[in-house]
């Protein structure tokens, strides 16, 4: 290893090369943008623009320009959305130009002489790691059983001290704690978790053996997210936990602001961004369609008075699209009761009087988004298996299909599966046993698939998976490995006698000339070929 001064000098030299090359990248981008603006609508140059932004994003922070990284990354996303829409929307070009100016300004500041010390922490993956504190042995065993059945890994504790030791050993992804344990209370444990670095993120649930015993104020104060009384309703507890976990993991919520006054828009943008939201300002309601489909906001803020239209008139427009049916729409406007009444009648969720206090705005936005995520979660997930419902799955498939042109490279892959002879299992052992088989399949799929994969209960005993960014051979191997693992699992009937269940599956990559319909048919036919060939197998379509 060389001495630090030499390295510093070399680094400084690379840094100046980076700044020089970035000047050239910026020139390239400006030139390409002009070509696009003049030109044929050929998306090719935009691809090139995207590559330049990609380079800038990948290097900025390394050389002490975190601002360049964040601006360039946003611009890269804009470009990729622009390409998805086929014809390039003028807005994308405008945004790229703004990004160019901002990057130039960032570079002109000279950046930070010392690159920030940043740890590249890899996000966890795989099954959810839960710490459970329950001192009652029966309750403990039952909880472990329920959680594991839903594909979670449980680290169990019987005392406060033990729970704290487990948490400190490794931060769990969730905590479930009984309220009264011999050496303290569940509140202490939650409070301890919250005090650790990163400890604000994992969901914490408090349970109580006695009705009316939980002091809700105390629970909230300690930092718990939810409380349940015994006998525990495990279905709703797991569902709540699922929702909380999704919230903990979700990317920053997206807010679209249709604004008339750009200065005010910048203010709102900075308030929301500082609280961790992604904000997109849409100065022109004429492009609303594009903004809705490219940005997929979870909440829309609209100024009451827009250049050509009254803000509230946009609400029914947003609502008429299926994807917009559940998006909260909030109007920002001057105090005016008449306008407020008209807005609520038009289907607007809230009317906030301007000037709005930033804290009030944040409280509103957070509550609305959280509620709508919770509802969407309930609507989109099958209660028995925790997998997506048929319609939610098909919506994802459709979105992915529409994105196919902007995502060159590996095509998405559709997997259809169906339990073999499932009707016989229900007939022979009864529906509760059949339901348990479905639950264990759901748990296995959730445990084995990547978080990014879309997994659904497609019908009664049918399931479907949408895989992305995976070669066809890998997709086949993955499906077949799950098939094998499931076939090896032992199920038990009501009398405790073991039996096994298998499934068959068809795997179909999206090919260039396919419609969604044909894609589904291809996967379906592969599945039925598997059935015809003797079941318990995976067939490529």
């Amino acid at each position: 290893m060389e001495n630090d001064e030499d390295v510093d000098a070399a680094l400084a030299e690379l840094r100046s090369t980076f700044i020089r090359n970035s000047g050239k990248r910026i020139e390239d981008i400006s030139r390409l943008l002009e070509i696009i603006a003049d030109g044929s609508g050929n998306p090719q140059p935009l691809d090139e623009v995207m590559r330049r932004f990609h380079s800038l994003a990948g290097l900025g922070t390394t050389f002490g320009f975190p601002g360049v990284t964040s601006i360039a990354r946003a611009a890269e996303l804009e470009c990729s959305a622009g390409i998805a829409n086929g014809a390039i929307v003028p807005q994308v070009l405008d945004r790229c130009r703004v990004a160019v100016e901002r990057i130039q300004a960032e570079l002109a500041t000279g950046g930070m002489p010392e690159p920030p010390q940043r740890a590249n922490v890899e996000p966890r993956s795989g099954p959810i790691d839960v710490v459970l504190l329950e001192d009652d042995p029966d309750g403990h065993a039952l909880a472990v059983d329920q959680l594991e059945r839903h594909g979670m890994v449980v680290r169990g504790a019987f005392s406060r001290a033990e729970a704290i030791r487990l948490i400190e050993e490794r931060l769990p992804q969730a905590l479930i704690s009984d309220i009264l344990v011999p050496d303290g209370t569940g509140y202490d444990v939650v409070e301890h978790l919250r005090s650790l670095p990163g400890g604000r993120i994992p969901p914490a649930i408090i349970t109580s053996g006695l009705q009316g015993f939980i002091d809700k104020v105390e629970a909230i104060r300690s930092g718990a997210d939810a409380f349940f009384e015994k006998p525990l309703d495990w279905t709703s507890l797991i569902r709540t936990l699922d929702h909380l976990l999704r919230r903990a993991e979700d990317e920053a919520p997206r807010v679209l602001y249709v604004a008339s006054d750009l200065d005010h828009a910048r203010f709102v943008e900075s308030v929301l961004e500082s609280a961790g939201y992604q904000v997109r300002v849409a100065p022109d309601p004429n492009h609303l369609d594009f903004d809705l489909s490219a940005f997929r906001p979870e909440l829309v803020l609209v100024d009451a008075m827009l250049p050509e239209i009254t803000g509230r008139h946009l609400a029914p427009y947003i609502r008429q699209k299926q994807s917009g049916a559940t998006i909260p729409v909030v109007i920002l406007g001057p105090p005016d009761v008449e306008e407020e009444i008209l807005s609520i009648r038009a289907g607007v969720d809230d009317y906030l009087a301007t000037p709005v206090d930033p804290r009030l705005l944040l409280a509103f936005v957070e509550a609305r988004i959280d509620r709508s995520r919770y509802l969407r979660n309930l609507i989109e997930h099958d209660g028995l298996t925790g997998l997506l419902t048929h319609s939610a799955f098909m919506r994802r498939v459709k979105i992915r299909y529409d994105e196919r042109s902007r995502k060159p490279g590996r095509p998405p892959i559709l997997v259809f599966g169906d339990l073999d002879h499932f009707k016989q299992i229900n007939d022979k052992f009864g529906h509760p046993v059949g339901d348990r088989v479905l639950m264990s399949l759901g748990a296995l799929l959730r445990k084995r698939m990547r978080r990014s994969d879309v997994v659904a209960r497609y019908g009664g005993e049918e399931f479907a998976i949408l895989l992305d960014d995976l070669g066809i051979e890998d997709a086949f191997r993955l499906t077949d490995r799950i098939r094998q693992e499931f076939a090896d699992q032992e199920h038990r009937d009501e009398a405790g006698a073991p039996f096994r269940v298998t499934f068959s599956a068809g795997v179909a990559p999206l090919r260039d000339d396919m419609t969604v319909e044909l894609w589904k048919i291809t996967a379906d036919q592969a599945l039925y070929k598997g059935k015809a060939e003797g079941r318990n197998r995976v067939v490529l379509g």
Partner: protein
């Protein structure tokens, strides 16, 4: 220990060479694209490969597949270098068989340490 750095961006190669070579004390060889990487890997027999994901022509995952299909390079651990820090992306890359994933922009002073940690060396 020898590392093969594969990235189409000269700026990235330069800073990675500095981080792994001069700071980290490793022998560094470079390739500027996927096909080049495969032949360099055969020739140089590096102890591991730092591979960019998004490259024109043969991208990172295809390069990995090519390395895996040749028995001379099959067992060389590959660490991906990606500008997309999304958990889903990182999971996907690991599933392809990468030994680890490093996100760009990386810290030049700690890159070597991170890579060693990923490889368990």
């Amino acid at each position: 220990m020898k590392v093969l750095i594969v990235d189409d961006e000269e700026d990235v190669r330069d800073v990675a060479r500095l981080s792994l070579g001069r700071v980290g004390g490793l022998d560094v060889v470079e390739a500027i694209q996927g096909a080049d990487a495969v032949s360099k890997a055969v020739l140089e027999k590096p102890d591991f490969i730092l591979l960019d994901v998004m490259m024109p022509g043969m991208d990172g995952p295809s390069t990995l597949a090519a390395l895996r299909s040749d028995e001379r390079t099959r067992d060389i651990p590959v660490v991906f270098l990606t500008a997309k820090a999304m958990p889903s992306e990182i999971d996907r890359l690991k599933l392809l068989g990468a030994a680890g994933v490093i996100t760009k922009p990386f810290n030049p002073m700690t890159l070597a340490k991170e890579v060693r940690a990923l490889l368990g060396k």
